[in-house]
Symmetry: C2
Subunit: 638 residues, 2 copies
Amino acid sequence: MAYQYLENITLEQAVDDFCSAAAAAHGRLTGELIAVDERALGRVNCKILTAAANAPHYNACAMDGVALNAALTAGVTDTTPLTLHSGQYVWVDTGDALPEGCDAVVMVEDVVEGEAEGELTLYAAAAPWQHVRQIGEDVCVGEMILPANSVITPAAIGALLATGIQQIEVYKRPLVGVIPTGDEIVSPRPAPAAGEIINFNTPTFAAMIKQWGGEPRPYDIVRDDLTAIKQALLDACSECDVVLINAGSSAGREDYSAAAIAELGTVLHHGIAIRPGKPTILGLIGNTPVLGVPGYPVSGIIVLRELLRPLLAALCGMAPSTDEQADAVLSRAIVSGLKYREFVRIKLGRVGDRLIATPLDRGAGVITSFLKADALLDLPQNCEGYEAGQTVRVELLRPRGQIENTLTIIGSHDPLIDNIADIMHRRYPRSYIASAHVGSMGGISAIKRCEAHLAGIHLLDEQDGSYNFSYLRQHFPDGGVALIRGFKRIQGLMVAKGNPLGLGGIGDLQREGLRYVNRQRGAGTRILLDYLLKQRGMSSTAVYGYNREEPTHIAVATQIASGSADCGLGIYAAAQACGLDFLPICDEEYDFLIDARFLELDLVRQFLAVLTGEEFAAQAAAAGGYDLDGAGRIISEF
Amino acid sequence: MAYQYLENITLEQAVDDFCSAAAAAHGRLTGELIAVDERALGRVNCKILTAAANAPHYNACAMDGVALNAALTAGVTDTTPLTLHSGQYVWVDTGDALPEGCDAVVMVEDVVEGEAEGELTLYAAAAPWQHVRQIGEDVCVGEMILPANSVITPAAIGALLATGIQQIEVYKRPLVGVIPTGDEIVSPRPAPAAGEIINFNTPTFAAMIKQWGGEPRPYDIVRDDLTAIKQALLDACSECDVVLINAGSSAGREDYSAAAIAELGTVLHHGIAIRPGKPTILGLIGNTPVLGVPGYPVSGIIVLRELLRPLLAALCGMAPSTDEQADAVLSRAIVSGLKYREFVRIKLGRVGDRLIATPLDRGAGVITSFLKADALLDLPQNCEGYEAGQTVRVELLRPRGQIENTLTIIGSHDPLIDNIADIMHRRYPRSYIASAHVGSMGGISAIKRCEAHLAGIHLLDEQDGSYNFSYLRQHFPDGGVALIRGFKRIQGLMVAKGNPLGLGGIGDLQREGLRYVNRQRGAGTRILLDYLLKQRGMSSTAVYGYNREEPTHIAVATQIASGSADCGLGIYAAAQACGLDFLPICDEEYDFLIDARFLELDLVRQFLAVLTGEEFAAQAAAAGGYDLDGAGRIISEF
């Protein structure tokens, strides 16, 4: 197969070459005539639009009063008034056409009706054209309303109609075919088999195409077969203005696409110096630009943003739409190789008057991770990275107002945080909660780095069995933080329904053949396990699966429910949610650590209102294993 | 008729009362089930969405290599290798389901194939679950994907499908009826009669409704007749979720709407303390909120933004979308009464690193004026105004990037500026030109105030007959400005086709019965007229229509073409454009004044490239009367 190795050309070069090749082969999109009404919203006019009618299109009276010929009133003053007789003037209302022979309007307040029928007296001369909105006062025929290649707005629709333009030529929406490929890819279905991957890329890409003014055309999934892929490409290229071919999710699958494009047309480039997105293919089949998109969803999203978006704009001679940018301070260092330009997903949080940027995991395979990102940081190819504390410019993926109204909770996981997030956004529609699960110790670090407003923690002091306070004294010796009381919850061993292995407690974890599943390092639940093992003089190396790490209670429960593990430590609610049995071990205190400066934030007050509210209490009761006594109490000294 | 006088309640109160009354009567919009695909883009989910499937939904091999049971490899090291036989392991590719009985994957790089068929040697122990993407690693069943009332994005579509959610309940798009009323209002047509007003409000409002996620339903125009208006309201209220009734363009027309709403339901408020938008009506007919919108288009746009937008958001429990805000420095003072909260249209220009805000004319009747606005300044009711130089926060009406890439040209009018604007945006898609016609002297002021990058000027020095330089020496004694050579153009008297009055030149302007039309004070063409009159010893008071002012050459020509004036001074191109005859008087020099700091701006370079380019030369030649010799030359000393 051709193209065994990839190029590493720069993104700028790739965009230039792709857009130029498309322009040379394809030219501009053709235009279509449409009526000027709300359906024109967001379309783009192909040609300059100039007024076809004057606005106003007639000389209009601008006041209620009498219209007359101003020449009649020459020399009229307070001391030399003028009396007019019917026939010399016309009563008019605002908006009326100026009557024939008249060139001025005198306001009703400035005329005195005489005793004789139709007699009027004036005490001042009228200037020619006073109180008349003259023809073309706003716009004259031939004046430009919009230059070519403007996006039609509501005000533009009004202005066009007001100046006599009822039809405009706009660029046809580019029809963009999306061909999913891959033996493992299946259409969305309730219960995919092991090894099958739901095709969620196609609808995601289709929505992006729609967002950028294109018309998506999704095609059926094509197997990893060169002949089938070629046929699909030929069909799509005959129907569409642009074609995307999306490789399967495994490495190397784009080779089929490259080979197929090479056999049917030209591969312009295969391999771009960006990450994610390296194995992108740019090609041309006949007149149709073809973009080979890598299979990983995050790679695909980046490649569409960086290559399809400029191409669609170029097809109608426009600059690609850009996202709002913002300056943000990095909470931790980012290291980058010099080989690629990198697009790093960023979580933003407003802390004081600064936006704090926290780089997210760079794995490109997880679509849900993109949903959590607030921004993208574009790390140039020749840049080795940035230091923590450095200010960087990022491209926003959500409206800035939304980001600034987001309460960030990073730390230990509890499923109730999702409930709080849902209730809070419903109750305070401008407010959002973003949460990340990095364990209690990770939460303490996040507060230190100003990455979060709140951190959920449940940290057992092995010395005295108390929770949280001793850790705070140790990590914040200078104070500056407070604790918002959360809830008590029950920790215990989660086991399969019916406890088929007859486990009795922690002592059984070393049993031969028993498969344990643990939490990640720094998680309060893992610290609890270590404590429990130590209490009993047990060694963690003797627990099979001690190093098998899951990030949440629910994830641990899910492994047990799926049968790939026999037990794990976690909270009652997680066992409940996954239909597991539960062997209670102890109560613990799950609280929220907060930088004391944030206690006055509206977002924190709203959080407290939710935490102490009835809806939350009902949901916690339904989840089970929680005790909300004292929730929301603020403890500033410990 | 009821409601002869208007209230003056605050906008905040009006929004609260309207949204609460609507919520009490109408409740939330009902939901509808839709498939999760690109059509879900921009919709809003009614309920929290939690994962219906684990992602991944099976234990997946994360590397190419062999899958095995990690327990087999306990104690294996470099010095105590392990040889496996077929049946003890399974070859796997990335993404394959982990085979039954296996709990780890060893990378292909870490196994050594033996000589015997199926023999493999390992030199390290495998940790349980190494290189396996475990069930639910990304998301577990029950975890929140989106809280209720989220706007569905492309990434959300992907994340929902990836976690087994194929259908979601979203709020129905609110159906918003728009009823235009007014005897003078007619549907868009090629040649409306004098006194008729084209109904451009309805499509403008419909486009705004669409932008905010509603579904507009335009109704037929209703005459100013109480019975007809009541019937139209009843019909619309029976079909729609919200109804707008738009009054005619004359003052007081909204009284019909108020009376009709009062007879059919309840008028909550009539009269809000905002300008424009004061005569707004808020009502309820049955369960349907009704908004009475004033007739002036700019008033209507403001009222929809301030009252309809929050109502639509409230109907699905969301915060209204907000526009991006920016800080800008006022170039001149704004004075406001204390009676109203004012929304002032603002033109913005980036000058250096500041945005300069110039208030636009406050007339509410002109839709084309809204098209020129970049932002709105919200002047609180208790505020008397702002000083020039003060920094104010404004709401942007266009993307910030577009505003910052706009070259602002304020000063004397020449029709070729439209041509330059069109060519420039086509040639440099990110760049825009905004122009305003305030005469040459106005242009000089605009440069002094930093309101513009460039000012078109053509100012005759009466002493020596030279153009522009002496004015610059006078107004910029300290320098700091330069002149970009524009073009020579021919000034002359524009007269009706065939010169029916047989005019010979300036000497005829005092002829009995002759109707002259002039330019505004400060316009170079008016200064030229004054010079020509003075040369001949003529008095301006003897010129009938000397005080009749039009802002552009084209506007003067339009008056003559329409027959409401007999002649006016202007350029050849304007006479040509309006089919007039032209009596040449003199050549003049039309140049562009520029603050010297801006000479290095990309926008200015692009402007120069257009000014000296072939496309512009061809368009100037087609317009006629221009000489481009020397265009684009920069003169820094004078």
